[in-house]
């Protein structure tokens, strides 16, 4: 190794040959029994025997291919710091439950157990509690949906409904169309079934219909099988945008023409700040849409109660799939939700939540406007998130460690793309912190952006993805319990 002996001009560490005296060597060397090593030199090319190779995981060769993305990630580890109170976390998605009347909920639960305890603690129907399914129809009616109780399948959160729909439709290599960006939880599900996710351009009014048409034609021409379009039409996570009313039937027609199912995921529809929610896509098409709903944001996420509304044949398979996954959704949790809907003014509660989130959205938008003229962002009219675009040349993922040092957390845009892009974007959530904390968080974030711009000025434009290891398929968003 000739150049390892070269002493470079100006190098901080001249290289010095190491020749410890033999006696020194003998003094410090010890074998595993704590005895001094033998003074007799062994032949130089004798490799120690019995070197034991290990990967620390005896099951390494056994995992299914679908586990490829299940690795630790630096990014995810940084979110461990975000849970400390010193850090203003604009990274989480935890609903703010402070406004929930806890005493009332506690009484409702106690009463439910007292009167129906034996049912509540027993296995129930794989499709879900019939009373709750009726009540779910009432909830969906607020968004223009009319349906039959038989077509509702209650699941453990709409996350599970997403998993079941993917399970019954996707073979490895099948295409799922998704918005650009898309919900990180859905991308994780699609990856676990080895789907090929094709992102489709979206703008401030949501998915762009002609972009959808083009992408479909492209994919079909290359011989791919497209199974469904996954869309979050209201107050999108992470984009904050809403699919315009005008575009909804257009999207439906395009998909119908190509025989592509629409999977409409709507956790935030009732959390709009201005006026009534837009009509659901499911209200415009019975057979072409599977609709997913949840009580996580309108009531509470800890109960893990969501649902799928599907055409009857799809519903049959979903029930079977659900039974084989969980036997049945939690009877206790369903009856809690049911009792809550029956005895508490749940619509008023949703209004209280809306106001809480509106106040926070306003704090975020105002402070962004005041402090980040170099960036641009979406203006959500409901939901939890603002999608921010950084000045050209910045890398949200590379910037996160600095942000953590400055005590603010966000989710880098790369988490929301299956194709390794998204470096220029940031998801900022306003659902949890108080308005003052949100303002402080934006202030800190602005200072991080400023420092990064200075670095960019020093080093000039560069390829944000150059030289690093290939884009990781690991999960790059925080766990659900990060506020």
């Amino acid at each position: 190794m000739g150049d390892s002996y070269h002493v470079p001009h100006g190098a901080a560490y001249p290289l010095v040959a190491v020749t410890p005296a033999d006696s020194e060597r003998r003094k410090v060397m010890t074998d595993t029994a704590g005895q001094p090593a033998s003074a007799i030199e062994r032949p130089e090319d004798t490799i120690r025997e019995a070197s034991h190779g290990s990967r620390l995981d005896p099951w390494m060769q056994s995992y299914a291919q679908r586990t490829a993305g299940m690795t630790t990630s630096e990014i995810r580890a940084l979110f461990a710091v975000a849970s400390r109170p010193e850090v203003v976390s604009l990274a989480g998605g935890m609903p703010n439950l402070s406004a929930l009347p806890m005493d009332m909920v506690a009484t409702t639960v106690a009463q439910m157990l007292a009167t129906h305890g034996l049912t509540a603690l027993q296995y129930g129907s794989g499709q879900g509690d019939p009373t709750l399914r009726e009540q779910i129809l009432e909830v969906m009616a607020l968004e223009g949906i009319s349906a039959h109780t038989d077509d509702v399948v209650v699941t453990t959160g709409s996350q599970q409904a997403l998993d079941l729909v993917t399970r019954i439709f996707i073979d490895p290599g099948d295409v799922v169309l998704a918005e650009a960006p898309s919900y990180v939880g859905a991308l994780g599900v699609f990856a676990s079934y080895q789907a090929y996710v094709a992102h489709v351009a979206s703008d401030n009014d949501g998915l762009v219909p002609h972009a959808l048409e083009e992408r479909i034609n492209e994919l079909l021409a290359s011989g791919k099988r497209i199974k469904f379009l996954y869309t979050v039409p209201n107050f999108h996570n992470p984009a904050g945008t809403t699919l315009s009313l005008q575009r909804r039937p257009q999207i439906l027609q395009i998909c119908q023409r190509h025989g592509i199912l629409v999977l409409e995921d709507n956790p935030y529809g009732l959390l709009g700040f201005e006026g009534d929610p837009p009509a659901a896509m499911r209200s415009m098409s019975d057979e072409g849409v599977v609709y997913l709903g949840t009580f996580s944001k309108t009531f509470a996420p800890g109960l893990r109660v969501g649902w799928a509304l599907a055409p009857h044949a799809v519903r049959e398979k979903l029930v079977l799939a659900s039974e084989s996954a969980i036997l049945c959704p939690s009877t206790y949790a369903q009856m809690t939700v049911s009792a809550y809907l029956a005895t508490c003014d749940w619509k008023a509660q949703i209004k209280v939540y809306r106001e809480l989130y509106r106040e926070r959205r306003d704090a975020m938008i105002e402070s962004l406007g005041a402090l980040l003229p170099q960036a641009s962002w979406t203006h959500p009219e409901g939901g939890f998130y603002v999608w921010l675009t950084l000045p050209d040349g910045l890398n949200a993922k590379a910037m996160l460690p600095r942000a953590i040092t400055e005590r603010v957390a966000y989710v880098p845009g790369t988490a929301f793309f299956a194709d390794g892009t998204g470096h220029r974007h940031v998801r900022l959530s306003y659902c949890y912190p108080d308005p003052d904390r949100i303002r402080e968080g934006v202030r800190r974030f602005a200072s991080v952006v400023q420092s990064e711009l200075e670095l960019l000025e020093t080093f000039g434009p560069y390829d944000v993805t150059a030289g690093r290891t290939p884009p990781s398929r690991s999960v790059q968003s925080p766990a659900p319990d990060l506020s």
Binding site: M1, S4, E24, S51, V81, R84, L400
Partner: protein, 314 residues
């Protein structure tokens, strides 16, 4: 029964690793019959220690505050016995260029390198400076923050065009970046403990062979992503030099109770010092517990021994 307070967590980038290390250490100590409590390092810590002083504190913290000596200074001022190196030794070890300079003076080879702040690049112009760095150090290069562990901010640069993004990645973690000539060879970690007379003893070297060639954060903490060989597959003379180098590092830097020294052994069997760690990782995929196992020992036994050493030397 000994009362030990394990500190784990903190606010550094390595908080997650520290939490896991802390749990493992606490677990092992409990198994050896020690009463253990685990606390995070936050604004309640000082009062908690004052009101109920533990016999000894084990800061299982990774990253600044825990590893740079600051916290230990605080513990010393509170009159509490603690495990590990003293503050001055921590300062010298935590700052890689300082540790390297001391080791070079002690006769241990260390890769040629430069430590540069962002401000220096601004003053001297990045293009000119980066070109001169590549001209003098050659390729490939290892770029990393001068302070920090777990390979956070580390990039191996094989082409000059990749250097700017590597600098930005390093500066995300700290103000000064170390650019070193990358030495190809066998990467080994040598963990060191003290015997009952306070003599430093090296445990069997662990050889690290990560998939993808870089012992990155992912490679360290995803079980299965890296292959380890214990003891390292070195000739006996190479193993002896490596062990000797690690003991020299321990002594030169003034370590106490435990540490871990990371080396690369080149094709000529020369050990090159990369860095040392006063608070090595103790997770289920970490090198220190692996070395203990390779030595045929139990972590509970070794950790209890470390606690006893800490009490003796306080």
């Amino acid at each position: 029964m000994r009362h030990v307070l394990v500190l784990a967590g903190g606010l550094s980038h390595e908080r997650d690793v520290s939490l896991r290390s802390g749990r493992r250490v606490a677990d092992a100590l409990s198994r050896s019959g020690v009463e253990v409590h685990v606390r995070d390092v936050d604004q309640t810590l000082v009062d908690a220690i004052k009101s109920s002083p533990p016999e000894v504190v084990w800061p299982v913290l990774h990253g600044a505050t825990g590893e740079d000596g600051a916290l230990r200074d605080v513990l010393a001022s509170l009159g509490i016995a603690y495990v590990g190196s003293r503050p001055a030794s921590c300062h010298l070890t935590w700052d890689k260029p300082v540790a390297k300079a001391l080791l070079a003076a002690a006769g241990i080879a260390t890769p040629a390198g430069v430590a540069l702040s962002h401000a220096t690049f601004r003053e001297l112009g990045a293009t000119a400076l980066l070109k001169s760095v590549v001209d003098s150090l050659g390729l490939p290069l290892a770029v990393k923050p001068t302070r920090g562990g777990s390979a956070l901010g580390l990039t191996i640069v094989r082409s000059a065009a990749d250097l700017p993004s590597a600098m930005i990645a390093a500066y995300a973690y700290g103000d000064i970046a170390l650019i070193e000539h990358f030495i190809a060879g066998t990467e080994v970690a040598i963990s060191i403990v003290e015997d009952e007379h306070g003599q430093a003893r090296s445990l069997p070297a662990v050889e690290i062979v990560p998939d993808g060639g870089v012992y990155s954060y992912e490679a360290r903490y995803t079980a299965g992503a890296t292959e380890f060989f214990t003891p390292a597959r070195l000739s006996s003379s190479a193993a002896e030099s490596a062990a000797a180098a690690s003991i020299t590092a321990y002594r030169t830097l003034g370590h106490q109770h435990l540490s871990r020294v990371d080396l690369i052994i080149d094709a000529d069997e020369r050990p090159w010092f990369l860095e040392a760690n006063v608070s090595p990782g103790m997770t289920e995929t970490s090198l220190f517990p692996m070395a203990i196992e390779a030595a045929g020992l139990e972590t509970s036994q070794v950790y209890a021994g470390i606690v006893e050493r800490a009490l003796k030397t306080s």
